[in-house]
């Protein structure tokens, strides 16, 4: 059984040694009294009996980092106890009475020494190096190695056999060479063990021929050197294995894995029983960085606490030294037989040790700045400058017992409420309960936790409330996990609410992921990499690329506002007041790394790819929408997650709504109310029709119904001002000034238009322009013909469109007014040409000009500004298009004097049944009869029509729409399934 979380459990001892910057190796003395930490500038001897004692140090100067260190195993012979490698040399030291002094230097390797190992009984030292050689040294004769073993590949590890004094093994990439000391010219054995580099090598203490190897290929293998084909291997690890070493007791083995690229937080050591390799017996978790070295010590019997025979000592790059005492049950679990027999071996117990045996006082040594300052001159800063004469006194570490919070109330106050997906509804120390809800996608749990009076020595209880969306099995599962977490903490008399909540959130997260995996997933599961983006950036040109925009608000479509915000970690940084966001992409990496440090708590177990996006909800507050929360919340969210003391609970409640945590959400807002455009009006406005004033009053009441009182008045006014009778009066220039020249005429209309233009109410402006201006006339040949025909007969002409808008000045006012007979000349193709013709035909040019001017003056909108008015219409048409009101758009566009593009493509043409001509429109230009007859009402169609493209039957648009509302077949009974053919 793997039990993690030993850290802070039992009597683990942690010593943080920031005063030895980059101490890269450690060695434990053979008596277990001292540990040596070696860096390039300092050798520090730590008294393991009293880690809080002043430590002895020897200042040292080397250009290189200490490679590895080893304490001699035999009693000091030749005056050497200790060997430390620095690049190509081995420095040998003598250590007596807690004092270190250098005694010599072994130098023969040409390149970096990778490992060294003392002989188990003789003053012999084996070193191996990248220069491919393995040297054996007699420390009494430091000038040259006593023997050299050569190979072709760089050597990484060298180890003496623990039983046979003649045998040693060295590793070279993925191979192992086993040497006999007496015959060094060729290796005794040559074993290809791994596919990748072997990092760790160790001889079994129990068997002369057994080796354990740890390799980059993530395997740990057990090799019988006498029978190299007999290789047993452990299950593949998740990460490359750095070391695999046998325990000095029983049949245990300790492995250290090094996460690739040092990602993740899996810096733990695993203790295995080689007899059962399915799962580690124990995991030593606690280090926050790579474990550089570990060793065993047997504490002095007089000092033994709690029957602890063995202690594991670890040194990590996080600059902490930890002592992990192993309790009897673990020792048993590793096959160790107790020296001073406890009761007989309980095999069940041994197979599944629990942490029961480890509950005792916890000594956690934490840095105390004050005591460091008190300890004398030269102490203090984290990395004190080391002077050669006077090594900096080490800092003192004082034990602080971390007790449970005094009361439930205190725990509630101190709890960190910023747990992903968790929302604390209610907390009451008086009632000794709290209500929590956790929402994770489709799964959610609401629960009420009650704390017994004896808490925290007794577990809190919880039950599910309404609103929980979990299957019965999942409920059980979650509950079990909760209870386990609670039990672990309560056992140590610790408060357990927060860990339990985190556990709960994690459980639900897993459940949700499982559901997503089983259900057809909408999204692929987010990748587990820490910062996916960090990989994608990184070209040298990044300094020129702008820093990515991570939040934004965009107006889109028609009156939509799209808002997205940056993930919480970015926000956190920017709200910290560290100045403005960097401008270039090259700063992003630093940004993300900063975050990782700043928010390390979030890293623990949390998947960062799904880092919460603290995006405040805007309009979803209970009141319906508009509480001015956003800004305040943004600020609050930004700061509260910085590890500040969470605010008192009351404040939490006072806020109307908790911020929900989201991942990469985009919010779409309807901002159309900010704009003077109204879609409802657009849909229902009347445009065209016989009754001008009726239309205006209908539009007026419509405007009133949507609350636009101003528009109501405008429409009523326009109804009066634009009265066709009034506008059409005084057609004769001699009859007097036209109505449009009245102050209530053109001037009024134009001032209204300019007012709404200022307000950007293009809707109103365009409507007014349409109603009071002129209709569109298509300058195409058919129009010309119609126009000519119209001039011919003096009867109302036809629109170029199928629809007919009777109110408009269907006849060109100029020509109509002129009443001249223009000969049918088919040269012209536009209105201007027509005008030319009419001018030519007119008897007196001056009179015509006067008449032309007069007709312009009669209009309510200045024809000189026609282009401008057309622009408004087109922009309004564009807005209608965005609203997908295409019919309304077409109606508006009919009033544009210039039709943007001539139609090219399919065109519906009708054929006269009498003369056989084809033409656009409904009336044969020659026979002058309507060719289209509605199949329903049998009346000629002049306006909008609709036809089946298959059978050709059709008629009035409205009739067709009505018919096909509930019919499929053609109304004529021809059997054509018109409605379906239309869809095809």
């Amino acid at each position: 059984m793997a039990s993690t979380g030993w850290a802070g459990d039992g009597d683990m001892l942690t010593v943080e040694r920031k005063d030895i910057p980059s101490a890269s190796c450690m060695a434990v003395s053979r008596d277990g009294q001292h540990a040596l930490l070696a860096s390039r500038r300092l050798l520090v001897l730590v008294d393991l009996q009293r880690p809080d004692h002043h430590l002895r140090a020897l200042s040292w100067h080397s250009k290189y980092d200490a490679g590895s260190a080893a304490w001699s195993r035999a009693a000091a012979q030749g005056g050497a106890d200790l060997a430390v490698t620095y690049n190509t040399a081995v420095e040998v030291f003598r250590c007596s009475g807690g004092d270190i002094r250098s005694t010599g230097k072994l130098q023969s390797h040409r390149r970096t020494i990778t490992d060294l190992d003392w002989h188990w009984s003789e003053p012999l030292l084996a070193t191996c190096s990248v220069d491919t050689n393995v040297h054996l040294w007699d420390v009494r004769e430091p000038r040259r190695p006593v023997a050299t073993m050569r190979s072709v590949e760089s050597a990484c590890q060298v180890k003496w056999n623990r039983i046979s004094s003649q045998t040693l093994a060295s590793s070279h990439e993925g191979d192992i060479r086993v040497w006999d000391r007496r015959k060094l010219s060729i290796p005794e054995r040559y074993i290809s063990a791994h596919t990748a580099k072997i990092h760790g090598l160790d001889w079994s203490p129990n068997s002369e021929s057994q080796l354990a190897t740890a390799s980059q290929d993530m395997y740990v293998k057990f090799i019988d050197v006498t029978n190299p084909r007999n290789i047993a291997s452990m299950p593949k690890a998740k990460d490359p294995v750095w070391r695999a070493r046998y325990t000095p007791f029983g049949s245990g083995l300790v492995t250290v894995a090094v996460p690739q690229l040092r990602r993740g937080d899996n810096y733990c050591l695993c203790l295995w029983n080689t007899a059962s390799l399915a799962a580690p017996q124990h995991t030593f978790a606690g280090h926050s960085d790579v474990v550089l070295e570990f060793d065993w010590r047997q504490p002095d019997p007089s000092q033994i606490r709690d029957d602890c025979e063995y202690e594991l000592l670890t040194w990590s790059r996080d600059q902490t030294l930890r002592l992990w005492p192993l309790k009897a049950d673990l020792l048993q679990a590793c096959g160790h037989e107790l020296a001073h027999g406890v009761s007989g071996l309980d095999t069940d117990h041994a197979a599944s040790p629990t942490t029961d045996g480890m509950e005792t006082s916890c000594i956690e040594l934490t840095s105390q700045e004050q005591s460091a300052a008190d300890s004398g001159p030269g102490s203090g800063p984290v990395s004190p400058p080391v002077s050669p004469q006077r090594p900096a006194p080490p800092r003192i570490w004082r034990a602080i017992s971390e007790g449970p919070p005094a009361s439930l109330e205190q725990e509630f106050l101190m709890i960190n409420k910023n747990i992903d997906n968790v929302r604390i509804e209610k907390m009451s120390a008086e009632e000794r309960c709290c209500t929590v809800s956790v929402v994770c996608g489709s799964v959610s749990a609401c629960l009420r936790v009650t704390f017994p009076l004896s808490y925290p020595s007794q577990q809190p209880e919880f039950r599910y409330l309404e609103g929980t969306r979990l299957s019965a099995a999942d409920r059980q599962h979650v509950k079990k996990a909760w209870e386990l977490t609670a039990e672990q903490h309560v056992k140590r008399n610790r408060s357990c609410l927060e860990p339990c909540l985190r556990n709960l959130a994690a459980s639900l997260q897993r459940l949700m992921e499982r559901q997503e995996e089983t259900a057809p997933s909408l999204y692929p599961a987010p990748s587990t990499t820490l910062f996916p983006s960090a990989n994608l950036y990184g070209s040298f040109k990044d300094v020129n690329v702008a820093f990515p925009r991570t939040s934004g608000a965009r107006f889109c479509g028609n009156g939509m506002l799209v808002v997205f915000a940056c993930p919480a970690y970015m926000k956190r940084l920017s709200s910290r007041g560290e100045g403005v966001t960097p401008r270039s992409l090259s700063a992003l990496d630093a940004y993300l790394i900063n975050y990782a440090q700043g928010a390390s708590y979030a890293l623990a177990g949390a998947r960062l790819a799904a880092s919460p996006m603290l995006f405040p909800s805007l309009s979803r507050s209970p009141t319906g929408a508009d509480g001015p929360l956003y800004g305040k919340e943004a600020v609050r969210l930004g700061t509260s997650s910085l590890g500040r003391r969470p605010k008192a609970y009351g404040e939490e409640r006072a806020r109307p709504r908790h911020p929900r945590t989201h991942t990469n959400i985009v919010l779409c807002y309807d901002a159309s109310r900010l704009m003077p455009l109204n879609r409802e009006l657009a849909e229902r406005y009347l445009l065209g029709g016989q009754d001008f004033s009726g239309m205006c009053s209908a539009n007026a009441s419509l405007a009133a119904s949507v609350g636009r009182k101003d528009l109501e008045k405008v429409w009523n006014l326009i109804g009066l001002v634009g009265d066709p009778g009034l506008v059409g009066s005084n057609a004769d220039p001699d009859a007097g000034r036209p109505w449009a020249q009245h102050p209530f005429g053109r001037r009024l209309v134009e001032s209204v238009i300019s007012h709404y233009l200022k307000m950007r109410d293009v809707q109103t402006v365009a409507m007014l322009c349409c109603l009071l201006g002129t209709r569109a006339q298509q300058p195409s040949s058919s129009v010309r013909q119609q126009a000519v025909a119209q001039l011919d007969s003096g009867s109302p002409g036809e629109s170029p469109y199928h629809t007919v808008h009777p109110t408009e000045t269907r006849r060109h006012p100029t020509l109509e007014g002129l009443g001249v007979n223009v000969s049918r000349q088919n040269r012209s193709n536009s209105w201007s040409d027509v005008l030319d013709e009419s001018r030519l035909a007119a008897p007196e040019p001056g009179a015509i000009e006067q008449r032309f001017q007069h007709d312009n003056n009669r209009r309510l909108l200045d024809p000189a500004r026609q282009a401008e008015f057309d622009r408004y219409k087109r922009i309004y048409a564009d807005i209608l298009y965005r609203w997908q009101l295409t019919n309304h758009r077409a109606q508006v566009l009919k009033y544009v004097s210039t039709v943007p593009v001539a139609h090219c493509g399919l065109e519906v043409r009708s054929e006269c049944s009498r003369c056989g001509r084809t033409f656009a429109g409904s009336e044969c230009p020659l026979c002058r009869r309507c060719t289209i007859v509605c199949v329903i009402c049998h009346v000629s169609v002049k306006g909008m029509s609709s036809f089946c493209l298959v059978c050709g039957h059709g008629g009035h648009l409205l009739h067709m729409l009505q018919w096909f509302r509930d019919q499929l077949l053609c109304p004529t009974g021809c059997g054509c399934r018109c409605a379906e053919s239309l869809q095809q």
Binding site: G552, R554, C566
Partner: protein, 317 residues
């Protein structure tokens, strides 16, 4: 005044850099550092993932919808130096064209007004701006303005279509194609096409740091033209032009608390959405008197004395 229609959980695995809704307000396109573009259908407050477009090999900075008269067409630009134009046919999104003529990250894309055809302008950190157009022959063609902005160009925006003249006024005016660009040289530049060549029409110099975004306001038919530009220097400048000549008058909004990344105009051309590095957005509106006010300041009815407009200028309007 602003109501939430829908909340779209994009499911992007990394930061979102842009989100745009199409012309009709029915489709949402988002792009992210996870190198994907996602298209969602957002009708009636509900949202469904229509497509995930995975062709880019780097963070995708911006997306842009073409006018629907050309069909559902989307352009995206990415750190991988490419612009990809996507098209949906029969419910399927596929790559229509890939424009890969830039030497560095492409930072912004913008479609021209539909009257000018299917024309796209994009700008890159290599300092150049390219105008990609779909030709009558059914091929894609592009013209490049080299060294439009030294160090790099960050944003482009088309001018609204300047309408053709009416027949009654004689010959239709020649359509002028113009766009504005902003770059790392702290400048905002206006470009005009003349005889198939893009020439620099105006150079607007007021920012003191990289210009991050530019936006040409929809004109609503008025002669007056407005351009908003925002910058690393925490300022937003609204440039106005009376429609004659090439003189642009700057008007500065109060300085914000952090870098401003986005400026975006509402369709009426008098409301500006401003958002930036402080993760806040504010809406600014021009009053009838020609002043620019933060909308919620107006709505709250209080003078936000002593505080940045951007602080209060958030979405609760």
């Amino acid at each position: 005044m602003v109501s939430l229609i829908s909340t779209v959980d994009t499911g992007h695995e990394d930061m979102i850099h842009d989100a745009q809704i199409d012309f009709y307000g029915t489709r949402l396109a988002t792009c992210s550092s996870d190198a994907t573009v996602r298209v969602f259908s957002v009708r009636n407050g509900s949202q469904t993932l229509e497509a995930e477009l995975r062709e880019h090999q780097g963070p995708v900075w911006q997306v842009a919808w073409a006018h629907p008269m050309y069909g559902p067409i989307l352009a995206s630009c990415s750190y991988d130096r490419r612009v990809i134009i996507w098209k949906e046919t029969g419910g399927r999104w596929s790559k229509l064209h890939e424009h890969a003529s830039h030497d560095s990250s492409v930072n912004s894309v913008c479609w021209a007004p539909y009257e000018l055809g299917l024309v796209l302008v994009c700008c890159s950190s290599d300092g150049s701006v390219s105008v990609v157009s779909y030709t009558a022959a059914g091929t894609w063609d592009f013209k490049k303005i080299n060294n439009a902005h030294t160090i790099g160009c960050n944003a482009v925006s088309w001018a609204p279509e300047v309408s053709a003249g009416s027949v009654l006024e004689g010959q239709p005016q020649k359509v002028t194609k113009r766009f504005v660009s902003g770059g790392c040289d702290n400048l905002v530049k206006i470009w005009r096409e003349e005889d198939d060549q893009w020439v620099e029409e105006a150079k607007l110099d007021a920012h003191s740091d990289w210009v991050r975004d530019v936006a040409w306001a929809p004109s609503v038919g008025l002669k007056r033209q407005l351009i908003a530009s925002c910058s690393q220097d925490r300022r937003v400048i609204i440039w106005s032009n009376d429609g004659t000549g090439t003189a642009w008058t700057p008007h500065e909004l109060p300085t914000f608390s952090d870098v401003i990344w986005h400026v975006s105009w509402a369709v009426t051309g008098n409301i500006l959405a401003v958002s930036g590095g402080d993760n806040k957005a504010s809406l600014w509106k021009e009053t009838l008197e020609g002043k620019w006010v933060c909308l919620n300041e107006v709505n709250l009815g209080k003078g936000q004395a002593g505080s940045m407009p951007g602080d209060a200028g958030t979405k609760t309007l």
